[in-house]
Subunit: 236 residues, 2 copies
Amino acid sequence: MLQKLDISLIRDLPPFRDMDESALRALLMQARSQRIAKGVHIFIQGQPAREFFLLLDGHIRVVKLTPQGDQFVPRYISSGELFGIAMALGVDAYPADAVAARDCVILVWPNTLWPDLVANHPTFATNTLATVGKRLAETQLQLAELATERVEQRVANAVLKLAKQTGKKTAEGIVIDFPVSRQDISDMTGTTLHTVSRLLSAWETAGWVKSGRQKITLTDGHRLVLIAHGKERTQG
Amino acid sequence: MLQKLDISLIRDLPPFRDMDESALRALLMQARSQRIAKGVHIFIQGQPAREFFLLLDGHIRVVKLTPQGDQFVPRYISSGELFGIAMALGVDAYPADAVAARDCVILVWPNTLWPDLVANHPTFATNTLATVGKRLAETQLQLAELATERVEQRVANAVLKLAKQTGKKTAEGIVIDFPVSRQDISDMTGTTLHTVSRLLSAWETAGWVKSGRQKITLTDGHRLVLIAHGKERTQG
DNA sequence: CGAAGCCTTGATGCGCCTCAACGTACGTGG
DNA sequence: CCACGTACGTTGAGGCGCATCAAGGCTTCG
């Protein structure tokens, strides 16, 4: 079992900003902390939502399955974010799968706490609203991109987004901090792994990126930005 | 100028559910009601957000402009919905244009009221969160559709959505209640007006719809659902 | 009555999916 | 530790869906 949870874990995270210490302590008392191994599903689309979560460490892939059986990845969750807050959104089932992109640590609360939380802590409600609002804005931006841009731009955007969100500086450039396959990228951009593979190969020979098995390193991010903006095109 | 606003205008709308009458009255005192002619912009993308709005009557088109200059329509707003609540979402500029799809009546409040509103009326905060959450869910669904479905399915979906949202029963079938051009549909689905025109023509000769200038009538909605689900395909 | 906006329909081409085959790294168990 | 199976990646050939280009007809409104 785990040692006592300290409020330093969550005190400085956006969702809990401006909450007083006693409230935070009370909140942590009711939380369960849990380690999730890479590849494990935390919850599944359609499952009744009984708990909500906070990602303390790691990265989580959100996966939506369409009725036709295709899968799509609308976003990745980084540490410090709330997720699985179906209840807050007024639905009683999780709208997507949550899969650990690598080993993760999460906090888990029962949904029954939620009403109290928003009722007694207006700032928490406001913070959550802002979070959900940002996600909505992001999603709408993605929607517009998907509708108007060519595959090449969307893939460049996806890689850049991942690098911005999870990038680590190394000698060679910025490397994405968890395993990403060609398939993962294609699931984010509505294309196929083949097309992603071809693009990454082309960019590698051009010298903008280096990539290997489930690993992508940006060596010339600026160039990728140009491609993302449609101001430069990959040579066949 | 307008007569006094009565709380019956807003009492039964989702955002205000469970608010007490005195609060509603106070809220209305601070509202300005306004008529918007068809085609007029209520606000513009990027403009600083100083007010938020409630649509009392009509339909509003949300239009996003991409940096590259393409436009995209993520959704239509129906009467009874809040919109332009940028402040709630933690951003200080409107993220898209709002254009009256036909003559509309709206209520307008200054943004300065928002903090009080959520602080003093927890149910309002919860309701708003649920609204934004539903929009997020919708948007993500749309994203998945756009990523995985063929144009034909997306156009069918868009038409069905409009019909469900604004459809009026007539002798001929369900007619969409405001002027919709081919261009509008293509802006919702990330295609071109040409393709939409061809599809509607094909569906018309097949007998699923009737359509004319800025007017679409569903005569066999069930068939369209099949197309939307990819279980049936339009003949060339 | 003219102009502008909306719609239709054809011809053409290309971006990207699909299908196919093979190469390569990983990890697992004997 | 090696051998095998599995998952991931690459690259080619071919074709289709849909954008693009083009031209013309039909409303609606000033």
